[in-house]
Symmetry: C2
Subunit: 295 residues, 2 copies
DNA sequence: CCATTGGCATACCGAAAACGTATGGGTTGG
DNA sequence: CCAACCCATACGTTTTCGGTATGCCAATGG
């Protein structure tokens, strides 16, 4: 069963004539006649009644016509859908994000995205620091909005911004009276730590900052998210050093202070599998850059 | 866009491997690989991600897969539907009948038909004597249960029975006291006439009967149906000569009497266009023969 | 580190299918 | 009775398809 034959069949059925249909199909009449007869042989029944003034569908032909034109439309639609997905006009984009960025970025990013790619199914998923690589690698998210960036040979990273590190403490803390906190004042105080990227404690921006200033802060707890860290800080478990944008989601009773002599920051990055060639990734990147630039 | 290519595409997508799919399709791997690449060229986008352990659909490929398998199913279903219609397992049969036969035949014929061809859409339409040929010729009915038969070069006729002619009169008529009525008693009485077949007044069985016995009955009225005739008879407008089976639909106050020395009858026939090759016609014929034989 | 294996891609050739041109046959209408 | 119209058939040419042989690449294992 060949789709061309069905196309020919539909043309002849609509034109009610082999000659007219051949003209419309830009081909000669005899081969079209042959194809129709071959189709009839394949089906095993006459599809047309041959009259002296053209041809007319039999009942069997009518039964075929309905499904044949549907099948043709479906095949054409399938090709068009594949092209649309390949070009980024349609499809699905699964966006992963880390919760630190949710409050600062998502409320403006999501509407912007929907406006940019109206035909695309968008899908958002929070990523935990410990599973974000895996989610990208197994394609359960197509693109991830990360902070800090991921380092992995299969993953492509585009840095789109950065946030300065700030000290986070309860409002009752004596340090809260300072406008900026000197690094030396952190010496020996308990720290609520976040998971370092790359499973390597030394790779964290906070660790680097402390190391450079030769400050030692004992780790009171390790938590998964900046928000958990802030909760523990509020509970008096210690201090935390987090990106400035976390302020938007901070609970009452928490204050943010810049660290004197510390211009350190954490990158905001868009990350995706190197072999994901979806054009939606570029679109996402542009939107994210635009929104993050305004922070 | 070729249906074979889509079939190949679906096979490869399901097997997630060109080699495995080729095996299942009973062909060599290289030509299949070529066909897949041709399909990708036709679409203008990669449909598979080639890995070292086989192939995997891209998003564009997934978009195509859904519609491609639907299109394949539809094409197969179309062929099957056409075969089913051609063989009489499915389809539509539009049955025309003349009202004289409705009461005697339809109540038993319709259930019998539905049992014989359960997949077929049946459709019944009353035919008037004056338009029955036209309804067959323009195919608005496929087959007609007629009385009397139609004569037309394009129409095939199968005689399946006959009904004797009987005299119809009001119960109060003096003739009603006779068990059989001699032909001579009809001389000069007004007749409620029915339309002759073939638009020719001489072609009617009643006309032939009267002519043979040299009886003249003035025509009081011409009506379309036997039932109209019986109504007029009841109203005292005249007598009518009708087939015996009309008795089943006769109004109260009407009596039927055989005519002495007159074995004349009217044929019951199944009629259809010579060029209608639907096998349902044969089935219908068998059912109708069986039911009419029991009259 | 090299050999082997598994999988897809490419090249080439023979076979099958489709298309075009030429032509025949049947019916309609003047 | 001839011309016009339409579908069917025949035949040669061209395109396309499938099979075999082979190459390339990556992963695996000794």
């Amino acid at each position: 069963m060949d789709l061309r034959r069905l196309r020919y069949f539909v043309a002849v059925a609509e034109a009610r004539s082999v000659g007219k249909a051949a003209e419309r199909l830009r081909m000669a009449q005899p081969p079209l006649s042959v194809q129709i007869r071959k189709l009839e042989a394949e089906i095993g029944a006459p599809l047309f009644r041959r009259g002296t003034r053209g041809m007319d569908l039999t009942e069997a032909g009518q039964a075929l016509l309905a499904r044949a034109s549907e099948a043709l439309a479906l095949a054409a639609d399938g090709a068009e859908a594949a092209r649309a997905v390949a070009s980024g006009r349609r499809g699905r984009l699964s966006v992963g994000y880390m919760f630190v960025l949710a409050n600062a970025v998502l409320p403006r990013l999501i509407p912007e995205l929907r406006r940019s790619v109206p035909g695309v199914d968008l899908d958002f998923a929070e990523l935990s620091a410990s599973t974000r690589e895996a989610r990208l690698l197994d394609r359960s998210v197509t693109v991830a909005l990360c902070m800090p960036a991921i380092h992995h040979p299969e993953i492509q990273v585009a840095r789109i911004g950065a946030q300065p590190l700030m000290l986070v403490m309860p409002i009752r803390s004596p340090l809260a009276r300072l406008n900026t906190v000197p690094m030396a004042r952190l010496q020996g105080r308990p720290l609520i730590a976040l998971p370092p990227p790359d499973q390597d404690p030394a790779s964290s921006a906070v660790a680097a900052l402390l190391r450079r200033h030769q400050i030692v802060m004992p780790i009171a707890s390790r938590v998964e998210t900046v928000h958990s860290a802030m909760s523990l800080v509020l509970a008096g478990e210690g201090l935390a050093i987090v990106p400035a944008c976390a302020k938007l989601g901070a609970p009452r009773g928490i204050v943010f202070r810049p660290l004197r002599d510390a211009a350190d920051s954490i990158d905001i990055a868009v990350c995706w599998r190197r072999d994901s060639q979806s054009p939606l990734i570029r679109t996402f990147l542009k939107c994210a850059e635009k929104i993050v630039a305004r922070l």
